[in-house]
Amino acid sequence: MGKELWKGNEAIAEAAIRAGCDCFFGYPITPQSEVPEYMSVHLPQHGGVFVQSESEIAAINMVYGAGGAGMRAMTSSSSPGISLKQEGITYLAGAEVPAVIVNCMRGGPGLGTIQPSQADYYQATRGGGNGDYRTVVLAPSNVQETVDFVQEAFDIADQYRNPVMVVCDGLIGQMMEPIEWRPVPKRDLPPKTWAANGTKNHTGRNIINSLFIAPEDCDDHNVHLAKKYAEIERSEVRWEERDCDDADIVITAYGTPARIALTALEALRAEGIKVGLFRPITLWPFPEKALHDLAGQSHVKAFLDVELSSTGQMLDDVRLAVEGRKPISYLGHAGGAMPTVEEMAACAREALKEAQ
């Protein structure tokens, strides 16, 4: 089968269907509305259930119910809609219900803009809801990775009984790119013996709940979750390094800025400037050790973090990993403005000059 031309959002929906998504619950919002639109036509044709809910809050709670019954359940939205879903996500995490949540990020705060953004990094990686919890966060930087990651997200969610987020900026959702459908790595998934789907195959009751009245029970539950998160940190962290082996300056970026960085990298290398790209693929778990080790290399003089965010959010994780051993510059735009190749190259030159 040759390559096909897909729009990011419709590819997200098709990938979910191919991964065996049973139920999709969502509400339209630009720039991700093609996800529910495609699902509404195609998911029922594959025997699945599509519901356009009355709100984002309803959608995430429908995911909670369907996921709790053992279904492969999914929702998608864009930044303000994902904010509305945060309560549901902490319940999913607390009750250990697998689910896939796609955030096609747009500018904020508040209603912001419908143009691309990455300003939901904190929300995705720190847990936008209450309590100590983590969601696995996959950050594709092209449409091919997006379809691969959406398919894998269902397996990761089922393996760890944990919500998994796929975050892309609006550009990835809206753009057309050639992709091919390829199998995702096979995981040995445990049977869902915990699912609250009746007593047909077992006696006793399965209860989906995130409430623990006794403090000791809640403490035990949190210890159990923390152990699970530590295991995910060990097993699921992913990143990509490009030309970092001899780099004087390393750009850290994910998603669309990482694509722009690759073009800047070519231009700078052509000038003789040794620049590399460190691209986190999982935002949580963040590739902290890999970046820590890279910062320890004597050839690396400085870092330049680039995000679609005015203040910088991943920048905090970059700083934690670099531990002050090398200077870190920042380039960010918010509200849909994109850093240009020339701007990124100029910032990298400047950062290197300052470090030297």
């Binding site: 390559k3 096909e4 031309l5 897909w6 729009k7 098709e14 630009t30 720039p31 803009t113 419908i114 143009q115 609006g170 550009l171 809206q174 753009m175 057309m176 790119e177 050639p178 669309t256 694509r259 722009i260 690759l262 073009t263 849909g336 994109m338 850093p339 240009t340 190749v341």
Partner: protein
């Protein structure tokens, strides 16, 4: 190649399934007509998709002498399906050629329905852009289904097929030929002629054996890293 030779009507309505490359074709067509000395207005009437719009190419278009009219110009990054009154000038001013870049699918083409009375009095052609690499229009049946859907919501008749089959930067001559075969099948089944095949300028010389015009295009609708 002369754009005026295959684009023989005063107004050209560019429709198709979304993601087939309507905007790239519309921008190239407007610039080609302008380069041939025609007074051209390009109207960006996409009320569906707020990204990758012909209005993003305003500087290049203005420099080439193409007048650009875009939906919701006062608030160009909002997804408000508002159309400017200026648009009526495209229908009324018969001294200018008009290229109308319409949103994807029947839902995007609906914007044309309100202008049907004006259009019927004008010399126009409704073109249907095909891309055989788009999964939802890659078979003759599905391509015709979208075409008929667009005709139904607009109340207009399609009179030409544009084979714009591409795979972004990975496009080869084989992709264009695959699209030519699909366009031929759609044409044979519907009786609607093939207006042209588009091909990036470097690929066009490899396709001179195709029976219809090959329209060499430049890529204007670039991504931020291109």
């Amino acid at each position: 190649m002369c754009a005026a030779a295959f684009c023989t009507h005063r107004l050209t309505l560019v429709t198709g399934h979304y993601g087939t490359g309507k905007t790239e074709f519309a921008v190239n067509l407007a610039l080609a007509l302008a380069a041939e000395g025609q007074a051209v207005t390009l109207a960006d009437l996409d009320i569906v998709n707020p990204y990758f719009r012909s209005r993003e190419r305003r500087p290049e278009l203005q420099q080439a002498g193409v007048r650009l009219i875009s939906s919701s110009q006062a608030c160009s990054d909002a997804d408000v399906p508002a159309l400017p009154a200026e648009l009526l000038g495209v229908f009324q001013d018969r001294s200018r050629r008009g290229v109308l870049d319409i949103g994807g699918d029947p839902v995007g083409a609906r914007v044309l329905a309100r202008f049907r009375p004006q259009l019927l009095n004008e010399d126009y052609q409704l073109l249907y852009v095909l891309n055989a690499n788009r999964p939802e229009v890659r078979t003759m049946e599905s391509a015709i289904s979208y075409l008929r859907g667009i005709e139904t919501v607009t109340g207009l008749t399609c009179s030409g097929i544009v084979n714009n089959t591409h795979l972004c930067g990975e496009t080869t001559a084989a992709d264009v030929r695959k699209g030519a075969a699909l366009a031929e099948a759609v044409s044979a089944a519907t009786g609607i002629g093939i207006v042209c095949h588009t091909a990036r300028q470097d690929l066009a010389p490899l396709l001179s054996d195709l029976p219809e015009t090959v329209f060499p295009i430049q890529i204007y609708m670039k991504k931020p890293w291109e």
